[in-house]
């Protein structure tokens, strides 16, 4: 009797799976979408909205290869193991042509390994990890968003022109934080051999003891501080830093700090005068981008975040690659994606053949308070292709690919 229950559980799952499963609608191409929808909704909801907008627009124009695109979304619960399981489900049960999405770097890497092993196409939309296209890169994985290295290099280039010589860093103590500090030091040292790094602080992710960390930075008397903390850690860091006078008379850099996801929650507390990478959607005058913002606001009654534009561009890339390949065969799509060019609201994007990184750029500017909220001013758009290491260096970092 006892066993019946476990049996029943197994069978009912099996039945439920097949029952709700693949009904291949004629004339649609399914795109698998995996993201941390319940773990980090603040970032993934805008992503999804951007992706859906793109799908709708593409379908309104007749779809791709005469078929409509359909986005099938799954939540990865913030766990790499679950993401891999969902990928498996999407391919075997839903019959998707490829998968895209993910935000956390480690989940992106898990899907990268999965794609390489199963020979399925994976477009990593948002994860930033350098390893994803370099050390752990493979033939079947491409990445859209500018990587940790690229964004750190953009900031390093900006401050190489400034007088600050003594630098301190603060970054969450895990892979992304370490990558971000390493890349920044590498690029800045190359441009300015005279700078020194006086302290490095490594708070635990989302467990920052901000007062104590700020004190530790003050003690080192740096000319500049490079900040990689984000989310709730950033809010605490900014508040303590302001109150304790850390930002006065110093050059402060913020990796990703200008992205609406991180800057907007700070409202009137947003720091002023930081040099940041981010997304000044409100000030971009390019007509294609204006059209994107208008369509987004019309559909969602909300303004776009960085996730939105990445989600939108991701679906444009998917449509472009299927169109170029002329089929949804994985090998053909991979071949088409190597060297794929497309126009997006954020300019031309090129997927490099050498390492599968796209050249999507980022915006670098200064933060300023306007009407009680943080904005980016004096910003410029930097094309991602200028912030990648030389081809020889890339080959070294992407072994055997």
């Amino acid at each position: 009797m006892r066993k019946i229950i476990s049996l029943a559980a197994g069978i009912s799952t099996a039945v439920a799976m097949t029952a709700t499963g693949s009904v291949f609608a004629a004339g649609t191409i399914k795109i698998g979408d995996i993201n941390s929808y319940t773990r980090l909704p603040g970032h993934t909801v805008p992503y999804k909205k951007g992706a859906q907008l793109a799908i709708e627009e593409i379908n309104a124009k007749g779809g791709v290869l005469g078929k409509k695109l359909e986005l099938i979304s799954r939540d990865d619960n913030g766990k790499p193991g679950d993401a891999v399981k969902k990928a498996e489900e999407l391919f075997t049960r839903e019959g998707v042509a490829l998968i895209s999405g993910s935000l956390f770097s480690h989940i992106g890497l898990a899907l990268t390994a999965y794609a390489g092993q199963k020979k399925k196409l994976y477009l990593a939309a948002e994860p930033l990890s350098d390893a994803l296209v370099w050390a752990k890169g493979n033939r079947y994985t491409f990445r859209l968003r500018p990587s940790t290295y690229m964004q750190a290099a953009m900031l390093a280039e900006e401050v190489a022109k400034l007088p600050a010589k003594r630098w301190a860093t603060i970054a969450p103590n895990y892979a992304y934080g370490k990558d971000a500090v390493k890349a920044f030091k590498e690029v800045l040292k190359a441009k300015r051999p005279d700078v020194t790094f006086v302290t490095e602080q490594w708070p635990a992710l989302f467990k920052i003891d901000a007062g104590a960390e700020v004190q530790a930075l003050l003690r080192a008397k740096p000319d500049g501080v490079y900040n990689v903390t984000f989310g709730p850690d950033l809010a605490k860091f900014v508040r303590e830093g302001k109150l304790r006078g850390l930002f006065k008379g110093r050059t402060i850099l913020g990796l990703l700090t200008g992205e609406p996801e991180y800057l907007d929650p700070l409202k009137g507390e947003a720091p002023e005068g930081w040099i940041v990478t981010g997304y000044p959607w409100y000030a971009i005058t390019d007509p294609a981008h204006k059209a994107f913002v208008a369509a987004y606001q019309k559909k969602w009654n909300d303004y776009p975040r960085i996730g939105s534009i990445v989600g939108y561009n991701a679906m444009l890339s998917v449509a472009a690659v299927i169109k170029k390949a002329g089929s949804t065969d994985t090998e053909k799509m991979v071949n088409a994606m190597e060297g794929l060019n497309l126009d997006t609201p954020s300019g031309k994007v090129h997927f490099r053949k050498i390492d599968h990184q796209s050249t999507m750029g980022a915006w670098v500017g200064k933060t300023k308070l306007k009407d009680g909220k943080g904005m980016m001013v004096d910003w410029k758009f930097l094309d991602g292709k200028n912030y990648l290491p030389s081809d020889a260096e890339v080959m070294k970092r992407r072994p055997g690919k």
Partner: protein, 616 residues
Amino acid sequence: MGFYFIQFLTGLASASSLFLIAAGMSIIFGVTRILNFAHGSLYMLGAYISYWLVTTLTPGPLGFWLAVLAAATVVGLVGIVIETGLLRRIYQAPELFQLIATFGVILIISDITRFIWGETDLVGPRAPGLDGAIEIFGHSLPEYDIAMIVLGPLVLGIIWLIFHRTRWGTLVRAATQDREMVGALGVNQAFLFTSVFFLGAFLAGLGGAAQIPKGGADLLMDLNVIAEAFVIVVIGGMGSILGAFLAAVIIGELNAFGILVFPQMTLVLMFAVMAIVLLVRPWGLLGRPEAVSRAPGEAPEPPLQRADKAVRCLFTATILLLLLVPLFSSDFILVILIDIFIFVLFAVSLHFIMGPGGLVSFGHAAYYGLGAYGTALLVHYLGTPMEFALIAAPIIAAIGALVFGWFSVRLSGVYFAMLTLAFAQITWSVVFQWNDFTYGDDGILNIWPSAWLSSKTAYYYFALILSLVCVYILRRTLFTPFGYITRAGRDSPLRADAIGINVQRQQWLAFIFAGAFAGLAGSIYVFSKGSVFPDQVAIPQSIDGLMMVLLGGVKTLTGPIVGAAAFTALTDWLSSNEVWFWRSILGAIILALVILFPQGIVGFVRDKFRPPEERG
């Protein structure tokens, strides 16, 4: 000099917030013996409600504090709802069963919070009247830090007065020392429990509400504070409020000065301190040895019984069916079933130490994770073949269990649970932060099985057979002298000791034995997914194991198998069909199961079919 003074004050301010997080949990545990995992959720609710009050009313300095108190009161009322609506119904269930209920509550509160306040992080407004900084020896200190430094001891003082100057407080202290005696003397226990839960929840809400000027409210804070709360409660001594304060000060100051010397050690430090304190003073700084539990209805369990014919037939039928599955089902069903096999092995190994061993481990993921990481590191650095790595994994896990177990079995009950948790967290911190060796959060990738197992079907049979054999060994062991001695040690340590059994050594051996099988489960998992990440060592992994065992029925042998299968299948099925709210649905189902089957699913079924004299 000035710098160190400021750093000291900063440490005190964070000590106060730590104290507020932990105080309520300590009080609730002291009286009701419930480890309230949902404490972090109550803390989060306090933060959201006070954020909402403060930003909509924009009060003055006095109003701000009133809003904080109001938020805490609302959270206290939520606590009452949880206690009367849920926990009260399952006080008779086996020890720690309430834990699953509080886990269900976490899932539901988290979704409700997201539904009401949305997904964006909320940054708290500064406290009116305390929005600046003051200069001390040329350094700035935020005014609100001073408020926090005052608030901690103030709350401590008020609680002390309530406990020592009111009749209610005297009863609470009495119940903390001997709950049954208080009940026997005619005190209304139901009221006492409810009011204690109110106070505990109120304090959690106060902690969340009071920290918004230093942070804010976000959806991850519920799980982020829970580990800290445990650490403080355990170091201070469970149920001791003064101890919690002392522990908070120690951790707060250690953090403040620790980051100056070891900026990378932020996570490990806290758990290392907890492990050391538990080794030197097993009951925490100001705690008392756990009173012998005389929980009502806790009759000694009847001896374990071998499966009767009907059960054996069912086992055989299930196995036959599982052997046939690949013939007619898709690859994806196999993926889910492989997961189930792995978790069954994991849950059965946890049950071995938890049920028959009588030692509830909160850190079983450590051995699962050691097996997983041991495998991955061997393959990655040494190119070890899969077959060898699979043999090495249980050995590595056993070595870990040998070291951690040696310390842990010196304790019992909830202190044992906490020490295992501390070791698991230390393991996790090392894995998570030691980038150069473990690749930290990036995980270790491309750990695939040998060619002969690379097809899904082959790996399915491999996992099935391995898991079957191991579950059989674990089960069989319970009917060997080794198993009987283990159970003797659980049921009556004194008598076991008197007839010459070295109980501690026996528990230690059982712990190592169970750890080895968990390690093997971890290794099978790595090869099935092709990668390993720190999640496999993290708290949720340990909790999942507990959920599976308790849901299935801790006092049965088949319970963990059913529990693991049901929990895994349910989670997968829900999360594939509903993107946004699957977690609260899961939470609701868990609550329903908990109330309907307080003995676990299999325990319930067995009680239905067995004559009363054989029931556990």
